[in-house]
Symmetry: C2
Subunit: 627 residues, 2 copies
């Protein structure tokens, strides 16, 4: 079995080698002429000079009468000056001064009679109330230098200065070639083994944001000749080329080889995680990069190497990334070999930012869409201990992060529905939920990391839900319990219940899929197992843990397990059969300090809204306590 | 003469009235379906749910061999397990697991022989190195709620989740109707009295930035019926309408009347400066605004009333404006009647921001393009004294402001050329020059408000330039003098010199145009007048002050004066005749603390570059000291 080892070049060194090669090959903007009104956001490639003074004639700055200033000299309260119609001209703001006039008297200061004569009780100086030629812009003045990014006001200045067309930096064109035998274009019904190709859309959007254009080529199969031919075509048509996937060292990964055959593979393998198997090189005098197939890896490589390449093209100094200081919530272990990019969630419950690493590997793109920021751990670091003050690079604005209601704890799809309702109703906050299980909710509320927690914890002794948590964990106060929904828990099994699951004991003879430690559903399972005298080890799949009800349902639906425990709405969503076990109470533990907070109040208003009732009715398996 | 007085509604009250009317008329987004890859930057109008799990099959997470985990149980360093080809399948990352397999052994851990048998020295657990169905996204999970602005990564999540089309908020369409008898479309050759209509392009660009589309109608003459007809058309086609100019109370200003005839004029006149003559109302159930003609006034009205209207349409909470604290450099007088918006320049020479109000009235759009920020002075304030700590709303990024080389003082077009060269050469800073005259440069360098000053000050006693400034104003050091250029000063007169200006005495019989107090050229004039025994009062136009050489040239070229004093390059630009008077030395006074600063060093490198020499050769009238 062929296996190539990759290099592990430090990212800074890899970037320098790649950018130097691009610089040597004069990877730089050319000029493009565009109409001024269409230049918004573009970067000037040449200084713009005014072709016209503005105003280009002496214009009245007021509504009033235009006069030769000298005829008003001497006018005063006790020495009014009378002017005949021949001595003045009525003008509006913007009107040209007639021949011989060099001043304007404001309409408020003019007393006119029926014959058209006017009386003035104050004199005007030459050029008073007149916008002289060039007051705003003088012909020949530089309106903006090279490198200026065009704003709306600048468009106005160009047109006012008689400049209809401006020279801007042509956007670089990046060719994008997706590769891979298993890759198919986006579809709602991919076959087994077919992977939807979405990276080209992601990178096109990223490049658009950086000011580049893209041409996406058809998917190329894993054949060296085909890849080489596609690269040749793209090199002929584009300013730079990105080859997607095929940058690792698997047996079908030809990128590095093909780039070398057309130019030079400068770097193969970078000391970053995710993103290690990147290829950086040049071919036909143009920059070429091979990006890893996992989306998060590839996005990191885009940020680290392709954004600086676009900045180089524009010869611009990028603004430093916006960062905030945060306190790391849990220990992070890191490899000495890699600079690591950890996607994190930021919470600002008490004022200081708390930083929580998000789960999910390099293939989990939703770990990026949910992230508030990126925590970078340098190469040669073994990691960071909990409580460390860290700098987090922001992916969302501080304002958006500040306007968050943080609800952590047990997973239920109703949290997403409430998040959506909060947006629809324009509540002004985003509801941010994270799935750490009911016990995680207790910890988070206690340590001030969440405004509220979602819990469904059975008190085995009394058979009641959640009330005991206040006594056990908040004996001195600090939290209040607010009722949420009643929901039904049960077994999710394939349609028709082929394995005839009826009772807990039936689970011992099938493949089970479990929830993670700390989840209320896991607590319920363990309670029921104990009550029925079944040891966890008797369940095949007890260790196969999922973080959400839908993940359990998806696992059963995929045939990876024969049964799971979860809520009705998830089973319904996947067309599974559902064997009800018990009703439970899914409630909210609210940090006392935030019980009166407007976001919390709005949350419970939404929970009892007609819109929410309609949604849970459609989802099925829920009741509000008052129903 | 007809004269309507406007109201003076406080801006907050005016905004509330206007937005409430829009709210009552349900000014709100509708849905539009767009392909996911084209949704970048759009706002979701409905929550997006995954249509597909990702991965949608059990996929190998590694290159290696797929096995049933149980066949590896017991494998260890001393107890290797051998597998026949029938017991494993080679897989690459992303490949589906074959029937019966539930784990993958990494290629690094596989020892293979020529017959195709493999040996393992470690066991794998079920689902190890496998991306199980739904690991990233589970079918039915909410990928993003309503109101989310689509990012590149989110596009990836949509496509990975099998969602090809998403529902976004349709952009509102704003009709823009420019009005006015004197208004003409952008042209390089407007006639006298014709004003170039550029506001529609400025507002279209502003609205594009806020997420709205625009339809710009043809220019409408100042006739009530025509304006009413244009408004009717726009109301039928658009979601909201902006009428440009015609919102003041001049005799041709029908906006308020026409809006009232089609609906309701809610506000006519707002207590803001600039921007007072705004009209706000509704017609045919749609928001309508009349914007003042002066561009800066209109931009203020757009920011204060139209941006909140677009935010309302999207039901979004705008992020608070970014502000910085700065120290006001000079006293600002403000009217009690208006909330004032002062365009300011920000300098960060010593660390703290210094804030300098920019010259220019509401008609001067370049006062906005040059501004770094806006200082708001509340209604009911008489103004602010010099040294006050103020909050400035940023128009440019803090990073851009920080990367500035501040050169203040005497005006010369070469400063703009050097600014352009600095950008072209990618020096990493912007050269920011302001024209406060040579004496202003001395003050600015002394008080730490500029890195360097541009001066040309004649020492009457010795006939030398600039050297005496160090002795007089910096006796204890604090500044160094660096040579700049030699340039020729002289009289600028119309082509053919019709008034036969030859000597200083000739100025007493023509109309003169002067430079502002503190300008080196003004100092030169005063010196020459005194030497020749001519009193300033003998010069007709001595009080007509301009701030730049080009403004003097433009004034002479326009026939507003018969002669001015200035540099050759400005006269040449305007095709004027030039009567040389003397050579002078235009030098740079560098704050000692910044003499070694990389930006300052780069500046003098540019000053002696071949590119700069080529430019001054083309401009004419300059010499470098070494030439």
């Amino acid at each position: 079995m062929k296996h190539n080892y990759l290099n592990n070049t430090p990212p800074e060194a890899a970037r320098e080698v790649f950018l130097n090669a691009a610089r040597e090959n004069v990877f730089q903007y050319t000029n493009e002429s565009v109409p001024a009104p269409q230049a918004l956001g573009r970067t000037l490639s040449r200084a713009v000079y005014s072709a016209l003074s503005s105003p280009h004639y002496n214009a009245s700055a007021m509504d009033g009468i235009a006069v030769a200033a000298e005829v008003t000299f001497g006018a005063g309260e006790r020495t009014p000056v009378a002017l005949t119609p021949a001595q003045y001209t009525p003008v509006d703001t913007g009107d040209p001064l007639p021949e011989g006039a060099d001043a304007v008297v404001m309409v408020e200061d003019v007393i006119d009679d029926e014959a058209g004569n006017v009386t003035l009780r104050a004199a005007v100086a030459p050029w008073q109330n007149v916008r002289q030629v060039g007051e705003d812009i003088c012909m020949g003045d530089m309106i903006a230098p090279t490198g200026t990014v065009v704003t709306p006001a600048l468009i106005g200045a160009f047109l006012a200065g008689g400049v209809a067309q401006v020279e801007v930096m042509k956007r670089p064109l990046f060719g994008i070639i997706p590769t891979g035998d298993e890759i198919v274009p986006p579809t709602a019904a991919p076959k087994k083994g077919e992977i939807i190709e979405f990276n080209s859309a992601v990178f096109s959007a990223m490049l658009a944001g950086w000011g580049a254009e893209t041409k996406v080529y058809g998917i190329v199969k894993d054949k060296k000749e085909l890849l080489a031919a596609a690269l040749d075509t793209a090199l002929a048509e584009c300013d730079a080329v990105l080859l997607l996937a095929g940058s690792s060292a698997g047996r079908d990964d030809y990128t590095a080889e093909v780039v070398a055959s057309r130019g030079q593979t400068l770097i193969h393998g970078v000391g970053i995680k995710p993103g290690k198997p990147a290829v950086l090189g040049t071919a036909a005098g143009k920059p070429v990069a091979g990006l890893p197939g996992y989306p998060v890896s590839a996005i990191v490589v885009m940020e680290e190497f392709i954004k600086p390449l676009v900045d180089l093209y524009y010869r611009r100094t990028p603004a430093p990334a916006e960062t905030v200081e945060a306190v790391l919530g849990k220990r992070l272990v890191s490899s000495l070999k890699y600079k690591e990019y950890v996607r994190v969630s930021l919470g600002a419950v008490g004022g200081a930012y708390a930083c929580a690493p998000l789960a999910g590997g390099a293939g989990v793109i939703t770990s990026l869409t949910k992230a508030d920021g990126i925590l970078e751990i340098p190469q040669n670091s073994e990691g960071l201990s909990a409580g460390t003050r860290v700098q987090v690079r922001l992916l969302k604005s501080e304002d958006e992060i500040a306007r968050s209601l943080i609800v952590t704890g047990s997973h239920d799809p109703i949290l997403d529905e409430l998040a959506d309702l909060a947006q629809r109703e324009g509540c002004g906050f985003r509801l941010k939920s994270s799935h750490v299980g009911s016990m995680g909710a207790v910890t988070a509320v206690k340590s001030g990391q969440a405004h509220m927690g979602a819990i469904h914890l059975l008190d085995g002794a009394t058979g009641t839900y959640n009330e005991h948590i206040l006594k056990t964990y908040f004996p001195e106060g600090g939290a209040v319990l607010k009722k949420g929904v009643r929901r039904v828990q049960g077994f999710m099994v394939p349609k028709g219940n082929p394995k005839h699951i009826e009772t807990l004991a039936d689970l011992t003879r099938v493949r089970f899929v479990n929830r993670q430690r700390g989840a209320g559903t896991r607590v319920l399972l363990d309670h029921l197992l104990q009550k029925n005298g079944i040891a966890p080890a008797q369940l095949n799949g007890y260790a196969n843990e999922k973080f959400t009800h839908t993940a359990v349902a998806a696992t059963v639906a995929a045939g990876n397990a024969d049964a799971g425990l979860g809520i009705y709405s998830a089973a319904k969503m996947y067309g599974l059969d559902f064997i009800p076990l018990c009703d439970e109470e899914y409630d909210f533990l609210v940090a006392a300090a935030y019980a009166g907070h407007p976001y919390v109040q709005a949350f419970f208003r939404l929970l009892h809204s007609e819109a929410f009732k309609a949604r849970i009715k459609e989802m099925g398996g829920y009741k509000l306590p008052e129903d």
